[in-house]
């Protein structure tokens, strides 16, 4: 079959699977519904990989473009460029991992609702794949909302507890609001250009000069995507939602959904706004760089302060999203391919870390670093995985996260010489926080940490296990899945073919003219010449440096658990994370204004 014909199937197959599960769910035993869910997810993953391999073949040649419904230039277009297809494949593979992880042990709602969890996960998969593949702005909004609706429901899945409901509600309100801002922006673009496809809007915009309307459209469209990407000051929902969502859902939210927000910003900018009628490159770089640096610093600082393990990992996701935004902000093919590698590596590592935390939760009914002190000495395998995950998160070569960090920080260094230092610092602090928690929990190292003052803003980690009861023995999938995810992350760093494929994907992604010609005129976009991203000595040294820093930070923190001045310094920042929906909404509007100020030309 023609490769392009396969593109809509990546969305259709999981939807069919979800419909089958809902129709038959009441009658199927748990085992069968798990098998059905995994099978549909796996078929989707195979389809996405097939598209990726055909689209990613090196050499000249266009990538697959499919006009759904057969309406050329009137309907909706799906574009299987290597980066989009690669993200769809990443999403699908992670969904398979998550379904295997929750295989049988994850407690689903009792009676009459068997199959609703895998069904929701399959719809989530369809939404994320559709978002990655679409070449149409309004269609992207539809998939953005689809991801959102499923994610809110999955976040609030454990209704017996109060925390998940609060987190899901904040998530739902803030993300919906961001989505509506995006739709306002889409409407403005439609009013100006009378088009909805990325390529068509971009071409039309370039026939006129930029003005207030184009700026407003950019700010509004980007607002929704940055909410999804959890950039400061749109990030408040993320820690609240990630701390409370069931572990398998956290793996997807942190591993790929947030990154899709970053992808959306990059895709929309390159295809729609990067021409002369859009937003100038320096303006975009300035705006995104400021937000990215703020996000990375704030995420790292907050990450270090957490004792609730899922919240700690959630803030590390915020920090890394900041780094991804910086990689996109520098507007070079190297920045894009470095960030893409980083996202690939990070997805495996972060999902593996969440999976390890899930094991702790199911075994001890808590994810609190202080309460778990020394208790998990009996779980050496989980401890080893957790430690490896922490090191990989800090960018240790030869993990994929390390390679991505090395390539992205080198690309960022060309824009500002101090940016590599930020990459090292942020990955060292987040990796160090994970290692600190690991040393305390799995090794009982250092002194038992003391609890802070009563009035300090802090979320502790007592929760109900997600299995029917506390686990006595750890089932194989709960450890095999994180091990496989870490191995995959390692493979991304050591297999040279991955690097060169991602390099080509980055070059094609940033070729705006080529994208528009491929989509609208059917001309083959020749991949521009490029050196493939690979390990370089500076990158290896900086990776080793941040890993060493992470270990040092963790050791120091464990040895001297006394609270230092940093905690007092950061207390006002922590108070902003108040859990109050009104606060988060106010910050969202303020963020829109900030983005406006940053993008208005002349404000330098």
């Amino acid at each position: 079959m023609d490769t392009a014909r396969l593109l809509p199937l990546v969305v259709a197959v999981p939807l069919l699977g979800a419909a089958v599960l809902v129709a038959t769910g009441r009658r199927l035993p748990r085992l069968v519904s798990d098998i059905v869910g995994c099978a549909f997810a796996a078929v989707t993953a195979a389809t996405a990989l097939l598209v990726l391999f055909r689209a990613g073949r090196p050499g000249p040649g266009a990538y697959p473009v499919e006009w759904v419904s057969g309406w050329r230039r009137v309907g909706i277009v799906l574009v299987g460029d290597p980066l989009g297809a690669g993200l769809a494949a990443l999403v699908s593979l992670l969904v398979v991992a998550v379904l295997v992880y929750s295989w049988r042990y994850f407690e689903e709602p009792p009676r009459r609702h068997t199959g609703s969890f895998p069904a929701l996960i399959l719809v989530f998969q369809a939404g994320m794949c559709g978002f990655a593949l679409t070449g149409d702005l309004f269609n992207a909004f539809v998939f953005f909302e689809l991801m959102g609706v499923v994610a809110y429901a999955l976040t609030g899945f454990r209704v017996e507890e109060p925390k998940p409901l609060q987190g899901a509600l904040a998530f739902g309100v803030v993300n919906s609001l961001g989505g509506y801002a995006t739709l306002l922006g889409i409407t403005l673009l439609y009013a100006r250009t009378g088009e909805l496809g990325f390529a068509q809007i971009g071409r039309r915009l370039d026939t006129e000069g930029p003005d207030g309307l184009v700026l407003a459209a950019f700010v509004l469209v980007t607002t929704g995507l940055l909410v999804k990407a959890a950039a400061v000051p749109f990030h408040f929902w993320l820690p609240d939602a990630h701390a409370v969502a069931p572990t398998p859902v956290c793996m997807l939210l942190s591993g790929v959904m947030v990154e899709l927000g970053v992808y959306g910003v990059a895709r929309v900018y390159w295809t729609v706004f990067s021409g002369p009628g859009g937003l100038s490159h320096p303006d975009f770089t300035r705006a995104l760089l400021v937000l990215g640096v703020l996000t990375a610093l704030l995420g790292a600082a907050m990450c270090w302060q957490q004792r609730h393990l899922k919240r700690l990992l959630a803030f590390s996701t915020v920090a890394h999203t900041g780094l991804f935004l910086i990689g996109v902000a520098v507007l070079t093919p190297e920045g894009i391919s470095g960030t893409a590698l980083y996202v690939l590596g990070h997805a495996g590592v972060k999902a593996a870390l969440f999976a390890c935390v899930g094991v702790l939760l199911d075994r001890y009914a808590t994810v609190d670093e202080h309460e778990l002190f020394g208790r998990a000495r009996e779980l050496p395998e989980a401890g080893a995985l957790f430690a490896v995950g922490g090191l990989a998160l800090s960018g240790l070569p030869p993990f994929g996260s390390g390679l991505g960090k090395a390539v992205a920080e080198e690309a960022a260094g060309h824009t500002a010489a101090w940016l590599p230092a930020l990459y090292v610092l942020v990955s060292a602090v987040t990796g160090g926080a994970v290692l600190r928690a690991g040393l305390r929990i799995f090794a009982g190292a250092g002194r038992r940490p003391r609890d802070g003052e009563e009035d300090e803003p802090e979320t502790t980690g007592e929760e109900e296990p997600e299995t029917g009861g506390r686990l006595r023995r750890i089932p194989v999938p709960l450890l095999a899945v994180p091990a496989a995810l870490l191995a995959a992350s390692l493979a991304i760093g050591v297999i040279p073919a991955v690097g060169s494929a991602v390099g080509r994907a980055g070059a094609l992604f940033t070729d705006t003219g080529g994208y528009r010609r491929t989509v609208l005129d059917g001309h083959a976009a020749a991949a521009p010449a490029h050196p493939p991203p690979h390990w370089q000595l500076t990158g290896i040294l900086l990776g080793l440096l941040s890993a060493a820093l992470a270990v040092t930070l963790a050791t120091l923190a464990v040895r001297r658990p006394a609270r230092t001045g940093t905690a007092a310094l950061l207390a006002p920042v922590r108070r902003l994370q108040s859990g109050h929906i009104g606060d988060y909404v106010a910050w969202l509007v303020a963020g829109t204004a900030l983005l406006t100020v940053l993008t208005v030309p002349g404000v330098r």
């Binding site: 259709a12 809902v22 204004a593």
Partner: protein, 266 residues
Amino acid sequence: MSARARLWVFLVGAAGFAALFAAACFDLPAFGTVPHPYGVRAVRAALSHHTANVIASVNFDLRAFDTLGEETILFSAVLGTVVLLRQARDEHRTDPEPAVVHPRVRRFALLTLPFALLVGLYVIAHGQVSPGGGFQGGVVAATALHLLYIAADYRALERVRPLALYEIGEAAGEAAYVITGLAAVLAGSAFLANVLPFGTLATLSSGGTVPVLNAAVGLEVASGVVVLLARFLDQAVEIEEPGEDGGSPRGSGDSGGNGDDERERA
């Protein structure tokens, strides 16, 4: 943040937003005179496929993929609500109380019910020729069923509402949409391509796959809305709050009131 600080953050942000949006408005083409390249192409495309209702053509032919996403949003929201409003481990069910209804209300509701149901089905079936379609008609049909709750009581509604069947109907509607799309692929066209004969403009059989997809959506929406409302009504009428929350102010009479709210919302 204090309420005051929150308001200040909002006001500063709102000022920026207002300036940005106003600037955009003054750059927009004047109201009513906009050239619409996509709109013109859509009208031409709809007429070439003999679909009199251009909006239905956009929704179910040109941009049928959007509508697949839209239908799935409804599908997953219903699924999500079913999961979120499930009977929690610490809750139990009570049978609904029989309710006394004024005879005139009863007569009126029973009289309107078949009429409303028919209107719903009509709107679904005529989506390609007149305003309406699967979404609109589906909601009308589902609401019609709930007139029984007004005419009699929750027990009467439960008797004509085997939820398992409606859940299957919802999934079948979703599956039918996807399968119609896949059938076009098997026929050698693009996914969701309009491969059926187009018929005569402005007749019931016109539009090719548009009426088929409309029917699929109609089935999904009608069943989905019934399931959705059932979950909210269950919360109001049947499910008792957890034992340890016994001191809560919401009694059974109050719950009935909430049920009414939901009914009005529908």
